[in-house]
């Protein structure tokens, strides 16, 4: 099926009432979790994921994709109005977005953010529509060595980009891989680390661990922090003056275009997702500006560029998931585990074997993008008022949702115990500055990596040289070693590359 026919077919399915309603609910929930500080898209998807197990995969995926890009839209609202990022890709929006709000231009900042997100989202989905088929065709030739090498690069990149040191990021990734070794060995069927416990024989339930790490630990973090975001009434009044003025438009058009294009391609890289493109866009706009001194003081480009980049970056990450079946950030890792739970293993053949699924998800993203524009522009006041919700009630409902979500997977108390333990572990990790993202990504990638490593070594009669004799695998291994030794090279050269969150502002 060529892209145009595929898209038309997908549109015919995407307008079915069930898919339309679930897509809308996904966008609604996504915007809400994006707006609320503390709960990001990962927690938003993981909490709701178990409820999707009773649905067909297509509407379930449409809903999860809606949550993902809905959170990208919603995250900017809190950044602009209260200087607290709704999720990580909106951190950089605080710098100029909140300054604009302080100057009475909150409405303009929110409008630029929503319109930029819409343009970038549309660009990203167009990219997905037309680039996914050739990319999948290229990837059909990939075997286990290529998959192992690509997964290795994804994990190391995720560790490299985490705010902690590379050693800490990698250590967390290895812990995630270790978690994946619990259960029956994929080749021999021999039990590993099960301690004669039947509950452990099937492996540790990934969703319970993720909900613990991102749901329960977030609640603990929210309650540990005594600082509560305060929203000013006058800022909400200013939302009535929603449209940007001529100068703001003129300054924002090119940053939106640049952010959309760059974000899509960077977002498709391992570990990048929506966060890295937003930081790159900010740095790029500041460097390209004739008046860089305005940045940090309410420059509209500092809102329009990063907000566009994080949305197209989110779609870029989906390209890799849907064509290679590899999750390169935590959100897509969660989506992959949902797809596996539904019995679909994404691969380059996904478009051939399940065209209905693929094209309906893509088409629903176009519709979802329109829904989000409508949800985020006229209803912005409603979203902003969410910030006035009492924290103690939010805590109660998130905890209950986590419990219900985990228990409804297999109705086992053991999964609840796992969630509680990983909630505690996730919180302690935050306190001792150990990143959760590489761990979460590794938990999902672990079984894929072990399977492809074993298959590769069987193919080569045990020789590890198989990873350097095949061009794509070799190139990926070179990239992996460069990443590993980059800190050493930087030290030798006396320079260092700033991780995400430390890009020159």
């Amino acid at each position: 099926m060529d892209p145009i026919h595929g898209l038309l077919y997908g549109l015919s399915r995407a307008i079915e009432p069930q898919i339309l309603i679930l897509g809308f609910l996904g966008c609604l929930w996504g915007t809400m979790v994006g707006v609320l500080p503390g709960i990001g898209p990962v927690a938003g998807i993981t909490i709701l994921m178990p409820f999707t197990f009773g649905m067909d995969l297509t509407p379930a995926m449409v809903m999860m994709a809606g949550i993902y890009y809905g959170a990208m839209y919603g995250g900017s609202t809190t950044s602009i109005l209260v200087a607290v990022p709704g999720e990580t890709s909106s951190i950089v929006t605080i710098l100029d977005g909140h300054q604009m709000a302080k100057q009475g231009r909150a409405g303009a900042a929110l409008a630029l953010s929503a319109i930029g997100s819409f343009v970038a989202g549309t660009f990203g989905i167009l990219g997905l529509t037309f680039l996914a088929p050739p990319l999948a065709e290229l990837a059909i030739g990939f075997g286990p060595p290529e998959y192992f090498a690509l997964a290795l690069v994804g994990l190391s990149m995720s560790s490299f980009l985490s705010n902690a040191s590379l050693a800490k990021g990698l250590a967390m990734a290895v812990i995630g891989l270790i978690i994946g070794t619990v259960g029956l060995d994929i080749v021999s069927g021999q039990p590993r680390f099960t301690f004669n416990n039947m509950e452990l024989a099937g492996g540790l339930e990934i969703v319970s661990i993720l909900i613990g790490l991102y749901g329960i630990s977030e609640v603990m973090e929210m309650m540990a922090s005594k600082i509560r975001p305060q929203i000013q009434h006058e800022k909400l009044w200013n939302l009535r003056r929603l449209l940007p003025n001529k100068l703001e438009w003129r300054l924002s058009i090119w940053p939106i275009i640049r952010g959309s294009v760059m974000g899509f391609f960077v977002g498709a890289l391992p570990g990048a997702g929506g966060t890295v493109p937003s930081f790159i866009s900010y740095a790029m706009e500041k460097r390209m500006s004739k008046t860089p001194e305005r940045f940090g003081k309410g420059a509209p480009e500092g809102v329009a560029g990063p907000e566009s980049a994080n949305n197209s970056g989110a779609v870029g990450a989906m390209v890799v998931l849907l064509t290679l079946g590899l999750p390169y950030n935590v959100v897509t890792a969660v989506m992959l585990s949902a797809m596996i739970a539904h019995g679909i293993f994404p691969s380059p053949l996904l478009m051939v074997r399940s065209p209905d699924f693929f094209w309906t998800v893509v088409a629903s993203m176009y519709i979802g993008n329109f829904m989000l524009l409508i949800l985020n522009l006229p209803l912005i006041g409603v979203w902003a008022s969410l910030l006035r919700l009492p924290y103690r009630w939010m805590t109660v409902f998130i905890v209950l949702f986590c419990i219900i979500g985990v228990y409804s997977i297999e109705y086992r108390s053991f999964d609840l115990l796992l969630m509680a333990l990983f909630g505690g572990i996730g919180y302690v990790m935050k306190r001792v500055d150990l990143p959760a993202a590489p761990l979460a990504l590794a938990i999902v990638l672990g079984p894929i990596m072990e399977k492809s490593l074993t298959q590769s070594l069987i193919m080569s009669d045990g020789s590890p040289f198989i990873f350097v004799t095949r061009p794509f695998a070799a190139a990926s291994m070179v990239l992996f070693f460069v990443l590993m030794f980059l800190p050493l090279i930087q030290r030798k050269l006396g320079r260092r590359i700033a991780p995400v969150g430390e890009v020159e502002m």
Binding site: L170, V174, F193, I216, M220
Partner: protein, 147 residues
């Protein structure tokens, strides 16, 4: 703090290695069930040592200590843990009620009446949506109810 993390990681490596000691590393021409665990244990040990070596003394900032509380996260953790053991005995609605009341009383409480009324409301909503509408199979009654 980094040295503490490193020590915990090394202890974990020791436990993991001991637990997987009997697994074969290699079987015929293919990696055995112990291959990946041993490889991972080795890499983690190296990384833990690296974290130890790179650790810098980090002066604890007063500001952070003041803006973070240890009590609330610990309470939430213990309550969720207790819920895991209580729910199969008491059933879903009653355990939820106890959890919500406890959460509300221990984390930013208001009056008893308001907390109890709020908790009952939350439990009824949750029960209607998830048990009645979505037909999730939760244990509704306590285990001793039918005896």
């Amino acid at each position: 703090m980094d040295r503490f993390s490193s020590a915990v990681l090394l202890a974990f490596v020791a436990f993991y290695t001991a637990a997987g000691w009997s697994l074969d590393t290699w079987a015929k021409n293919a990696p055995g069930p112990g291959f990946m665990p041993r490889l991972l244990a080795l890499v983690l040990a190296v990384l833990a040592i690296l974290i130890w070596v790179q650790a810098k003394p980090s002066p604890e900032s007063h500001e952070e200590v003041e803006s973070y509380s240890k009590r609330e996260p610990l309470i939430i953790f213990l309550l969720v843990l207790a819920y895991v053991f209580v729910m199969p005995q008491l059933g879903f609605p009653l355990s939820n009620l106890l959890l919500v009341v406890a959460l509300r009383r221990m984390v930013e409480p208001s009056s008893w009446r308001a907390d109890l009324a709020g908790a009952i409301g939350a439990v009824v909503i949750i029960h209607l949506v998830f048990v009645q509408m979505l037909a999730l199979q939760f244990p509704v009654l306590p285990v001793w109810w039918g005896e």
